[in-house]
Amino acid sequence: MGKRRILIADDEEGIRESLGLILGDDYELEFAMDGQETLTKLVGGGFDLALLDIKMPKMDGIEVMKRLRQQQVKVPVFVLSAYQSVELAREAVNLGALDYLPKPFEREHIVQAVRGALAAT
């Protein structure tokens, strides 16, 4: 079985590269820098999981979730955000996100969440 594919969508290079370091050895990673690019790539298909930042240029994470739902693209999504707002978390989960991963993140938290999500699919 080949490596599982994960899309990491965040406008901050530091966050993308950190996640790359954490997950790069075990998974095949693809990156997106804004909401539009994220949507295009996810609609294109082939991803087992997506880590999605809420605050992104062009289109925010919540909007991406809505569009995915409209277009019936079914891909497991974790939402990443610096805002530990319960409201936003609830909104993302309501829109179908698996869970909400707060930023700044802990390495172990990310690893376990991703492993758990992929084991379930």
């Binding site: 925010d60 930023k103 700044p104 993140f105």
Partner: protein, 558 residues
């Protein structure tokens, strides 16, 4: 003129002067309420009565005296009617409001009776006053009964409120009740002249109790904000009072010294005046200080140096507390901002062992970790700008730059609350200002706007050259400020939020005025608020006009 008559006239004229003075003062209050008008008319009625009574007795023939006496009674009738109205309003006695009209009607009915001989029959000559006084008719006693009932009932209500109120209200009512009781007790013996009866001491000294009532009411206003009148006694007012006191002292001293010289040396001369002048000059300063300390203790419970120290202390606390508030608001967001780059740095350092030989990792490490460290440094600097108190330093500053910096600090909050910001800056020369303090101004105004929009708002920030000033307008489409709050928002400690300190805008105003600027706030309920701040431009830039407009937007959905 007998001593009795002298005191009779002096006390009446003093009553007129003080009641009219108090009435005018209350009537010209900035934040007028209906209560103030009623109180003013009540005061004028008392002043009118005392003036007309004095004129009536001074009249040299019976007919004039009778006319003036009848005119006087118009004022006398109005006193209980207005006193009742005033007390009803002051104490918020809604249950008593239905008696207002009957009471005024009674007053009008008695006024209509005044011309009748059944009310005032004639004049009598009062030897002790060496003047005429009106004599009562048959119906007069009904008026007396009404007058005493109403006045005593009002006094009863006032004392009842003293007993039931607490805190500042209690003090307000206490001085008013005490003063009113004294005033009525002192005033009523004036009726006795009509019956050719006198009570020693109360006639003629009783009337002095009426100005005493005025003094006590004024004290209740100044010290305890009776009728919610807040007064800051200006130095000039206190000073003119002092000059008055000293002038009186001077005149009395000259009179006494002249008599003394006359008695012992046998001639009046300029020497007496000169000597008194020298004495006054020598004692002027200690006397002035003594009186001023007395006035300050009575009205402000502190002397000027103590007051200055208190004010200084308050200002320090205000500025500290406001900075703390701003810092606290920012701290949550900033902690977040700092922890993000920290987590990136942490992840990279964790991979050093495994990837240090990888040139790609090395390049990324340098670029990304370096960038994140710089980001933390920048955040720390921004935080210091706000937190570190420093003396104001006027330098040439670009207002648009300061606005941008402040917006950047709030970027997190603005995005989280889905606020869209439109910026439109007209090219303008710099102004002289303290960048830290000006940022505090813009931050406080923007924080207020943030509170007002409550999510999904729009801010418009504009700068424009208006005459010789640079105007900054910060508008929001938030909930707006009610008109009654608008005139008070710059008052320290005025707040409508339970968590607010009420100092934000007070501090803003202080800083703006320290920069020679002006601030005004316009607002419409449910439409939004615009704060306009004008700063004088640095001289070199005068006359420069607009060159270009820059418009850009930031927000969640750029």
């Amino acid at each position: 003129m007998s001593a009795h008559a002298l005191h009779y006239y002096i006390s009446l004229f003093l009553t007129t002067a003080t009641t009219v003075g108090l009435g005018v003062f209350v009537l010209f209050q900035k934040h007028k309420q209906p209560l103030h008008k009623i109180f003013a008319w009540y005061s004028f009625a008392i002043g009118y009565w005392s003036l007309l009574q004095a004129l009536m007795t001074m009249a040299r023939n019976s007919a004039t005296s009778l006319l003036l006496g009848r005119m006087m009674f118009v004022g006398v009738m109005l006193i209980p009617a207005l006193f009742f109205h005033f007390v009803t309003c002051l104490l918020d006695k809604d249950g008593l409001r239905r008696w207002l009209v009957p009471n005024y009607l009674t007053c009008v009915a008695f006024i209509a009776l005044i011309a009748s001989p059944a009310f005032i029959s004639k004049t009598i000559f009062c030897p002790i006053l060496n003047g005429y006084f009106v004599a009562p008719g048959r119906l007069f006693f009904w008026h007396l009964l009404w007058y005493l009932s109403v006045a005593n009932y009002c006094l009863f209500l006032l004392w009842k409120s003293v007993a039931s109120a607490s805190g500042p209200r209690r003090n307000q009512f206490l001085y008013l009740a005490l003063g009113s009781t004294l005033g009525y007790l002192g005033g009523w013996p004036n009726y006795l002249y009509m019956f050719d009866r006198l009570i020693p001491v109360l006639n003629p000294f009783g009337t002095y109790a009426v100005p005493l009532y005025v003094a006590m009411t004024a004290y209740a206003i100044v010290r305890h904000q009776l009728m919610d009148i807040r007064i800051i006694l200006r130095t000039s007012l206190v000073y003119s009072f002092l000059v008055g006191c000293i002038t009186v002292t001077y005149l009395v001293a000259v009179m006494i010294m002249e008599r003394w010289f006359q008695g012992f040396i046998g001639y009046r001369s300029l020497l007496a005046t000169g000597l008194v002048g020298c004495l006054i000059a020598a004692f002027f300063n200690p006397l002035r200080q003594w009186i001023q300390a007395l006035v300050d203790r009575a009205l402000f419970s502190a002397t000027p140096p103590e007051l200055a120290a208190q004010r200084e202390q308050l200002l320090v606390e205000v500025s500290k507390s406001d900075q703390m508030k701003a810092v606290a608001t920012l701290a949550a967001g900033l902690a977040h901002e700092i922890r993000n780059p920290l987590s990136v740095i942490k992840t990279f350092t964790e991979h050093i062992d495994a990837d240090r030989e990888d040139p790609e990792f090395q390049r990324k490490f340098k670029r990304i970790v370096g960038g994140e460290v710089e980001r933390i440094n920048l955040i720390a600097q921004r935080l210091l700008d706000f937190a570190k108190p420093s003396p104001p330093q006027l330098i040439s500053v670009s207002v648009p730059q300061l606005l941008d910096d402040t917006l950047e600090l709030l970027g997190n909050e603005l995005a989280q609350r889905h606020v869209e910001v439109t910026r439109q800056y007209q090219d303008a020369p710099p102004i002289l200002g303290d960048p830290k303090q000006l940022k505090q101004v813009f931050l406080n105004l923007l924080l207020n706007s943030l509170q007002a929009v409550n999510g999904h708002g729009q801010f418009a920030i504009k700068t424009a050259v208006v005459g010789q000033h640079l105007e900054v307008r910060i508008s929001d489409n938030g909930c707006g400020i009610p008109k009654e709050h608008l005139e008070r928002i710059f008052e320290p400690f005025f707040t409508t939020r339970s968590s607010g300190t009420g100092l934000g805008l007070a501090v803003v105003k202080g800083i703006v005025e320290d920069h020679g600027g002006k601030i005004s706030i316009e607002s419409r309920l449910n439409e939004g608020t615009t704060a306009s701040v004008r700063f004088p431009m640095a001289l070199s830039g005068l006359g420069m006009n607009s060159v270009t407009n820059n418009t850009d937007q930031i927000g969640l959905n750029p």
